[in-house]
C-alpha cells in the first residue's frame, strides 16, 4: 500500500481518478504505464497518431471510431484523465454496490456502458442513430464482402425492428430496448480492468 501510493503520486490526479472511476491504485498505475507507453514522444497527452500506432487497432473495422471516442469533442489530444475515464466504462459492474442518490452514476453502470456504445454509433451526436449512420457502421464491419443492397436490406430490417416511434432512426431508448436481452455487463467488461 505504501509503495503503490507513493508511485500513485506520479499519476496526475491519481486519487481523484481513483475515486471517480473506481479503479484500484494498482490498476491505475498499470493504465498509467500503458499511457506512457503509448505516448511515445512523452508529451503527457496522446494524439490520434499515437493510437494508430497500436498495430491491431488498424485491423479493427471500427478502430477509428474507438479512437475517436477517447477525444472529447473539439479536442485533439487525450490526457490521462480522459483516457482513464473512457476506460472506466469497461470495468465489470459491481453487483451489490449501493450508492446514495446524489452520487453520479458510476461509469461502468449498464446505462453508461450503453450510452458509450450508442455514442460510437451516433457520431453526429444528435441523439439518434440514423439510417445512414447505421449503414456506415455496417459498411465498416462487413466491408467489401457484401453488396450495397444487402447492406441496405440489413439496415432497413434493423431499423424496422428497433424503431418503435417510427422516426426512421434509433434513439437511445430504442437502442437500449433492443439490447435488453443481452448481458451488457458481461459483453462490455474487460476483466483486466477490475
Amino acid at each position: 500500500m505504501g509503495s503503490s501510493s507513493s508511485s500513485l503520486n506520479n499519476v496526475p490526479d491519481g486519487q481523484q481518478l481513483m475515486q471517480e472511476t473506481g479503479f484500484s491504485a494498482a490498476h491505475l498505475l498499470r493504465l498509467y504505464e500503458r499511457f506512457k507507453f503509448l505516448d511515445k514522444d512523452n508529451r503527457g497527452h496522446l494524439r490520434s497518431e499515437d493510437f494508430e500506432a497500436v498495430p491491431e487497432l488498424s485491423e479493427n473495422p471500427i478502430g477509428d471510431r474507438i479512437v475517436g471516442a477517447f477525444f472529447l469533442p473539439g479536442q485533439e489530444t487525450v490526457d490521462f484523465s480522459s483516457f482513464v475515464r473512457v476506460l472506466a466504462h469497461f470495468r465489470p459492474t459491481e453487483k451489490n454496490r449501493t450508492r446514495a442518490g446524489a452520487q453520479p452514476e458510476p461509469a461502468n453502470s449498464r446505462n453508461r456502458k450503453l450510452k458509450f456504445a450508442f455514442r460510437l454509433y451516433d457520431r453526429d451526436r444528435d441523439g439518434k442513430i440514423s439510417r445512414t449512420e447505421l449503414l456506415q457502421v455496417l459498411r465498416e464491419m462487413l466491408g467489401m464482402q457484401v453488396t450495397e443492397e444487402q447492406l441496405q436490406s440489413i439496415a432497413d430490417r434493423a431499423i424496422q425492428e428497433a424503431d418503435l416511434d417510427k422516426d426512421d432512426a434509433i434513439s437511445f431508448d430504442e437502442f437500449r430496448k433492443s439490447l435488453e436481452k443481452v448481458n451488457i455487463d458481461h459483453k462490455m467488461s474487460i476483466r483486466f480492468l477490475e
Partner: protein
Amino acid sequence: MFWRRAAHGRVGFRRSLPELGLLLLATLVLLEGSVLPLGAASSPETGITPGAGVSHGHADKNHSETKHKKPFPVLGLNYDSVKTPFEISLWVLLASLMKLGFHLLPRVSSIVPESCLLIVVGLLVGGGIKLIREEVPPVLDTKLFFYCLLPPIILDAGYFLPIRPFMENLGTILMFAVVGTLWNAFFVGGFLFAVCQIPHASLSHIGLLPCLLFGSIISAVDPVAVLAVFEEIHINELLHILVFGESLLNDAVTVVLYHLFEEFSEAGTVTVLDGFLGVISFLVVALGGVLVGAFYGFVAALTSRFTYHIRVIEPLFVFVYSYMAYLSAEVFHLSGIMALIACGAVMRPYVEANISHKSHTTIKYFLKMWSSVSETLIFIFLGVATVEGPHQWNWVFVTATVILCLVSRVIGVVGLTFVINKFRMVNLTTKDQFIIAYGGLRGAIAFSLGFLLDIEHFKDMREIFLTAIITVVFFTVFVQGMTIKPLVELLAVKKKQEAKRSINEEIHTQFLDHLLTGIEDICGHYGHHHWKDKLNRFNKKYVKGFLIAGERSKEPQLIAFYHKLEMKQAIQLVESGGGSKLPSAMPSTVSMQNIQPKNQPPPPKPTERALPQLTKGREEEIRKILRSNLQRTRQRLHSYNRHTLVADPDEEGFQDIILKKQKMMELDRKIKEMANYLSVPSHPKDSPTMSRARLASGRNTDFIPAQQQKGNKKSPDPQAYNIKLPAGGVPTIQVDLASPQSPDSVNLLDEIGKAEQKEDSGLMMKPPESNGPEKAGEKDGWRDQQKLTRCLSDPGPGAEDDEDEPFLP
C-alpha cells in the same frame, strides 16, 4: 397405469396384430426353451395377463406342433434367421410406443419425468420376462450400450451444442468436470472405505482401491440422464450448459480414473509414478479425444464441400464421420464422448454452410430421432437390468453410497463455485449452485461401467457395487428428477428465454465484440476478445475458404444470420399465405445461396439483382424527386401490364427502374398484408407510369387508379415508410419475388371485387375466411406462429434455439 398406457399407445385396429405375433413368438420361446430377450416382446401382453399368456402359448404350441407334421410346409416357421433383427425391432417398437403413450397422457408426464416412467416400464417388462422364464436376458450389454445406444445421444448433443455459451463458460465447465469429478471420486471412495471398515457391515473384504474404483464409477454426472431431465424443465441457458457441459466433459476423467483404478486393483499397490502417469494419461485421453474428433470434423467439412451433386447422401457423411471419430477414439482408449462432441461441434459451421436445406433438416431429424429412441431404450433397459440383477443388497453400503454421493456433490459444487466466482464476470448465485448440485444425476453410464467390471477380480464386490449403483441411479433419476421441476418453480430460477435473436442484437453484439477487442488492444491486454478475434480472423482467412464451397465462404456471419432470418420469414409467409399465389416466390437474396446452391454466385446476376437494387435509400431519392411533380405519393399500380402499355423511349432506364420497383413494392406490400402489417410504402408514383396506368385500365377519369382512391381514404399520410410492426413483432422483410405473374393476376381479381377496403393499401390479399384485416391479421399472426414452428421443422423444444445460433462464435 401401464395397461392403460399400452392401450393408449396402440391404435385400435392394430391391436390384434402385434398381440398375435407376440403369442407366436412366445410359443417359439417355449418351444426352443432357450434364453432369449424375446420374452420381453411378449411381455406387454403377458404383463397384462401373465397366466393367460402362458396358456395361450401352450395352446399355440400344440397347434404349431401339428403344423410341423404336415408333409409340405405350406406355412413354415423360421424364426431363427430373423431372430436378432426381429427382437431388436420389437424393442425399438416398444420404446417408440411407450414414448407415444406418454404423450397421450399429459398429466402423468407433467408430474413424472419421462425417464422415470421409462424405467418403470423397463421394470415391468423385466418383471414380466422373469415371471415367464425365470431368467432375464442381459439386455444392457456393455457393447450394445457403448457402441449403439450412447453415440447417437452424444452426437445429437455435440452437433447442436451452443458453442458460444459453451466457450464462454468453458473454464467453469472444466473446473466442474475435472476437479469436481475427482473430488467426488476420492471423497466417495475414501469414505466408503472407511465405512467398509465398520466391523459388522460384512464389507471388510472391499479394499481401498476397489472402493476408489467404485467412487470413480459413481461420481460421474451422466449426460443421458441430465439431458432427459433438463430438457423438460427449461432452465436458463447458463445453468443448462454448465451441468450439461460438465456431464459431457467428465467422461475423460471417468475413463482415466476407471482404467487407472482397475489396473491398480489388480496390481494391488499404487506408486507416485502411477499417479503421475495417471495425470499424463488424463491429458492424453482428453486432448487426444478432442483432436481425433476435430480431425474427423474437418474431414467431414471438407467432404461436404464437394457434395453439391449428390445431395441425398450428405447426412450420411455427417453421421458416419462422427461415428468413426467415436470408434477411432475408443480404439486408442481415448475419450470417445469428447471425440464425438469435438467432431460435431467442429464440423457443424462448415457443413451447414455447404449442405442443402433439406439435408440440414434430414440431419436434424435423424439425430433427434436416434437420440430419442436411444434414450428411451436406455432407460427401459435400465429397468430390465435392474430386475435381472445380479444383486446383493447391503444396507450399510447402499445407504452410505447414496448419502455420500449427495454430500460430496454439494460440497464439491459449493467449494468450486467459491473458487470459480473469483474468476468469473457473472457470478454464480446460491440458487445456481443449488441447481447445479441438484442436477448432478447419475445414469446408465455408471451402470454400464459397473457391469464392465471383471467378474473374476471383483468376485464378491461386483454385486454389491451394482446394487449400489442402481440404487443411486434410481434415487437421482426418480427423486431428483421428479422434484427438480417444482423446485425450479419454487426457487424462481430463471427460465430459458424463448425469444429469438433479432438482427439488432446480432449487429450490436458484433459491434461490441469489435469494440472490446479494440479497447483490449489499446490497453495492451491480450484478453479473451483478442484471442477470439484472432481465431475468427484465422478462420475467415484460411479455414473457411478451404472448407466451404463456393461463394459461401466469403459470406460474413452477419449476412448469413440475416439470410437465415429472411429465409425463415419467407417460409413462414409462404406457408401462411392464405391462398395467394405467392408460394412460387422466393426471396432472391436468399435463394441464391440457400436454395439453389448450384446457381451462379449472387452478386453478378443482373436480372435478379436489379430488383433489390432499388432499396429504400434510392427510393427515398426518387420519391423526393417525384414528389415535386406529383401530389399523390402513394399509389399502387395494380393493373400495370407491360404488354398493354406503350413504352416511352425517353425514359428507358428510368422506366425500368420504376417498373421493377413497383413490382417489388407491390409484392412487398402483399406479403406485408398477409403477415398483418399495415404498411404504407408511400411509393411516389411517377407520372409517366401513372398515366399509362390510367390509359391501360381506363377505369377512372380521375387521375388515380381505383385502388389508390380507396387507399387514400385511410392513410393520406404521404410520409415515407410507415411500417407498423404487428402484434407478433414480426418485422417486414424485403422479399423479392421472382415471378411477376402473380401480382398482376391477383390484382385484377381484387380490383374487380372490392368495394370497400379497410386497409391502407389498395390490394387485398385477404384469405377468404377473414372478416376484417384485423381479425385476419390476428388469425394469421397466430397461424403464422403455428406454421412457423411447423414449417421450420422443429423437432423438439430446444432445437429451435440452436438454429438461431450464428455459425461461429
